[in-house]
Amino acid sequence: MNKLFSIIIIAGLILVNTSCAQENKNTVLSEINYEMELVFEDENIIWAIEFFEDKSILATVKSGSLFHYKEGIKTKIKGLPDIYLRGQGGLMDIAFHPNFKKNKWLYLSYASQDVGEKGGNTTIARAKLLEDSLTDFEVLYKGFPNSRKGQHFGGRLEFDNENYLYFSIGDRGNRDVNPQNISLDGGKIYRINDDGTIPFDNPFFETLNSKKAIYSFGHRNPQGMFKHPITGEIWTNEHGPRGGDEINIIKKGKNYGWPKTTYGINYSGTTITKNKSLPNTKQPLYYWIPSIAPSSFEYISSDIYPKWKGSLLAGALKFNYLERIVLKNNKVISRWKIGENLGRPRDVKQGPDGYIYVSIENKGVYKILPKK
């Protein structure tokens, strides 16, 4: 009888557990087995870093400049376009073409303003990086319409295994108009070919009046993106409102819900929607309450750090640390703080040497070393 009772209790517990969308993992523990080493100092906001084959670093400065850091020498790259500096917008991400070594294409995201319309929007361009200059500059995509809002430019870039370029544009502070409408830009993840043309098998390619480059929609402001080294999938994190930052695996043509579904509320504390899920919307793989304001996203595939392999890293702009997220069967099982109180982390990347590098606003770029 006792045994039967236990079985019922256990079954009940399992039921209770599985009926929750997510167990709250609010405890964020402090990592101790590492050191932060300053690679180079910079007083600006380094929004993105990329690595050359020789391990030297190319870095964007949000206010509108691009630098090459090599062996302690900082060289400014010439030939950038006009950049619209407004709120969260400016010069944002960079990505090397997977065949950069041969073709020299560098991809950039930035906010731009054009004649006629007030304000700006996220723009994707490419140029050949030859020595210290950008040449053959061409705009591949420009979000419309322009807006004087300072919010939610998105701006992350990532290539997948088939050389498609993915990028994000946030909802541009117009959540009730942009994210759920596929004939408008904003609140989307996009997919284009490396020359800026649009793949015929994009999900809305044949939809009337649609923006053909859209790959998924219903996003708020995705600023972290990586290609999963094992599955090849594109993973993103995005800023939620108050609470409700999300991790998502990007699937073709899917609606990620914003603002029809969210785990967050308005900054003022009022409700956005009661719906945490709806039919035909994707649930996040994970949501943060409270928000950490994720700036960046990376997967650790390196063997350099004992126990860190296979976990994820996200910059927590709100709390000034880098968060390491441990997954088991695509569920978050623990969260860890790295580099507490160093400053606002903007980008995090695993370098070609297997070490993790992180850019901290107004401080520079740090390398994370495992403690011996």
Binding site: E43, L85, R86, Y267, G269, N320, R344, E361
Partner: protein, 131 residues
């Protein structure tokens, strides 16, 4: 007598229009604050202790007002500051705001969350400030 009448007529009108333009400026300032400032300084102006300084009942803001306006216009204050007894050392970025927008944000900030400031901040004043 006529002269006095005119003065009596003009003074209330002047005060009224100043109040009215302050409330218009504060209204614009509120929506700009929500767009450009709230994410760090928080909806209640209290910031995050040790990371983003408070604007609500901030001793620094009122003591170093010109410096604070320059911080919005040119992007941050270099070095450590102490606000209400707590140290802060993260640099605010330049937001790309126009001078009239900065004036509006100041008027909203200086008259919200228990703050009170008699004189209105004008666009011309913001424009006159040099780095």
């Amino acid at each position: 007598m006529k002269f006095i009448n005119i003065i009596f007529f003009i003074i209330p009108f002047f005060i009224f229009s100043q109040n009215e333009s302050l409330s218009v400026s504060m209204k614009n300032g509120k929506s700009l604050y929500e767009d450009f400032c709230l994410r760090c300084h928080m909806p209640n102006g209290k910031g995050i202790e040790g990371i983003y300084p408070p604007l609500a009942k901030s001793d620094f803001l009122f003591k170093y007002m010109e410096e604070s306006i320059k911080a919005i216009k040119f992007g941050g204050i270099d070095g450590e500051i102490t606000v209400n007894g707590i140290k802060y050392n993260s640099k605010m970025e330049k937001m790309g705001l126009y001078d009239d927008e900065i004036a509006d944000i100041m008027n909203y900030t200086l008259n919200s969350w228990g703050n009170k400031h008699e004189a209105m901040i004008m666009e011309d004043y913001v424009r006159s400030l040099k780095k």
